[in-house]
Symmetry: C2
């Protein structure tokens, strides 16, 4: 039996998108493919709100995040990076191991680093080449709420601005050109509700120039090659995951048919309902109010809620998948992916199932949670 997939990726994939994978195999060196790839690029530009070049990698999100580092960072290059969770940590580690110098501006998990500390980091260090920002920290359910100010700061200081938007693009505000984002990275299986395995990224013309002059010593994630193949032939340099390209194209259609504004409002309303409903059950978010994500809802466990038992019951008895915590947060939080297809139905079924499981575990839960959440949803969408 099918699961309700409330993970922070992969998510539920609409049947339309799944079925697109059955499109017959074509030659990836032919006009059939060129048409497909061009339309994906154009639609991705609209969803990213950018005129920048688009590259679609056959990788999961980590592959595209890595491409944003190895095509940009050279030995001893300094990059500032706010770090408040697993994915920020991982990205900063990659910058260091690749030979760059990551300047970490940290905050306790669940909070965003102070914006002023990023300014200080610029003041204290000369020649900052780039700021890498994990826009939504999937591991803790926090969203960096000063991307616009960070964009201005990067412009003022002449640094590249790079956004890891893997778990958020399509589910919250992210106007790439307005925010002057030089590289914006996302993945198919998060708020865009396609299957996992392809990852789109946008690259500004100045970032592109830099990459073309400084290609990495590798091939698979070498973006110079992607630019060349696209410019000469509208192709990818290596065999693309055709079924996933078709599915991603269909998923983009669904985003554009709904409209970005409506989609973002829907995500916000569902997140609000989740937070309100869970609060009524006595469950509090891990993230501080001002940092809370609209796409990943991370919730503290309370005594009596064992991670394995809780998520096991939810999965086996209610066929609902949610995620546990990462690293130090293992066993301390659970995480709901409220993204992609997420709707009233997903929120209400998930909340009522959580309430039932809490009852099974012997915990008293207010009967109001459902009606509180529903009220929020009905006033919003």
């Amino acid at each position: 039996m099918e699961y309700l997939v409330m993970l922070p990726g992969p998510t539920n994939v609409p049947d339309r998108v799944m079925n697109a994978m059955l499109t017959h195999i074509i030659n990836h060196r032919s006009d059939d493919f060129r048409r497909l790839y061009k339309t994906i690029v154009e639609k991705t530009q609209r969803v990213f709100q950018t005129q920048n070049d688009i590259v679609l990698l056959t990788t999961s999100g980590t592959g595209a995040v890595e491409a944003s580092v190895i095509n940009m960072i050279r030995k001893n290059d300094k990059a500032i990076i706010p770090v408040n969770g697993e994915f920020g940590t991982r990205l900063a580690d990659l910058i260091d191991s690749w030979g760059g110098h990551a300047i970490r501006v940290t905050a306790p998990f669940g909070q965003n680093p102070q914006y002023s500390e990023i300014e200080d980091a610029f003041d204290r260090n000369k020649d900052i080449k780039a700021v890498y920002a994990v826009y939504n920290e999937t591991s803790t359910g926090t969203t960096l709420r000063y991307m616009d100010k960070l964009s201005q700061l990067c412009s003022d200081r002449g640094a590249f601005f790079i956004a890891d938007a893997v778990s958020i693009l399509g589910g919250d505000e992210l106007p790439v050109d307005k925010w002057n984002i030089d590289i914006c990275v996302t993945a198919s299986q998060k708020a865009l509700a396609a299957p996992p395995g392809v990852s789109p990224m946008s690259i500004s013309s100045r970032a592109k120039k830099h990459m073309q002059a400084n290609p990495p010593p590798t091939q698979y994630l070498n973006l110079k090659r992607y630019f060349k193949y696209y410019e000469e032939n509208f192709e990818t340099p290596f065999t693309p995951a055709l079924p996933l390209f078709n599915a991603f194209s269909e998923a983009l259609d669904m985003v554009l048919e709904e409209g970005l504004d409506k989609r973002i409002a829907r995500h916000k309303a569902c997140a609000d309902a989740f937070y309100a409903g869970l609060d009524a059950m006595g469950l509090s978010p891990f993230a501080r109010q001002d940092a809370r994500s609209n796409v990943v809802i991370a919730i503290n466990y309370i005594p009596g809620m064992d991670d394995k038992k809780f998520r096991g019951l939810l999965s086996q008895q209610f066929r609902i998948l949610i995620a546990g915590g990462f690293g130090d947060l293992k066993g301390k939080v659970f995480r709901i992916g409220s993204m992609g297809e997420v709707s009233k139905y997903h929120v209400m079924r998930t909340l009522s199932s959580i309430a039932s499981v809490m009852n099974v575990l012997g915990l008293k839960v207010s009967p109001d949670a459902g009606s509180i959440a529903l009220k929020r949803l009905e006033s919003a969408i």
Copy 2:
């Protein structure tokens, strides 16, 4: 309308395998996934004829080939590589750009380098760390016919033996353990007849030990991480392309149901029929007799056969996809992928369509080609 996909990858994908992509989305951090991944690993071991560790990457073949380099080669490491086509050239270039030193043993395209010259390369160079062999050179339709001897040579000289078997595994002999192959790389969309986007590789215990002690400064293709996640949890470190994993699993079932020996015999018979039928049409293989591939049939164009016109007619009028030449061979050869599902039907439909297109182009073709090919096929499979 559907194409008959006679490309050297992607190939025709059986409906069973395509439909497996519709399997519902699961949590890639759950027992559901662990079961799937374990069964893929076990089946891949049987198809690779190995007890070695298996890693399944969410990349096309180039990603896995790159993983075989960046996890093995360190600064100034010497590697011998036979080069007689595009993919050998590309692999040697990668070894060099990554900081290693590729010792190229070359031959004119269409021929295999002399085995004795590889011995000479060992004699002339101390401390050869590895031999990288492109078993089937997709760009020219040649297969390296001394893999067993090369294996023995590597054992005698204490070098790692690494096989790029991207376009051949499942379509010709490749007993990984018998040939002591330390790293064997293939891709889903070639002779295994799955959709493109995942690439399996096998790694011997001594190669694994080496990799664990010398991980590359990157994350996505860092095999140490893959070993760790598999050993601790039977998981992949990064989100796997779930629908492609399901399809690949189904494709492996089909390989094992048919039986490797029968599958290889079928490939050989289809290749023989192609060569014989095309010969009867006055078309000669690009590869020298002793180097001819059973999976990629590269054929010289004759006067009157324009690549664009010929392949265009074949694609538009007969719905058959074949490939053109690479690099210097562009316009000079066409290439038929005779792999995966390939059967009597595929061979006969392709040959008769080629004959028709040649007629359309005003070329006289012997009417015997079909019956010659059919006779070969009927005596063999």
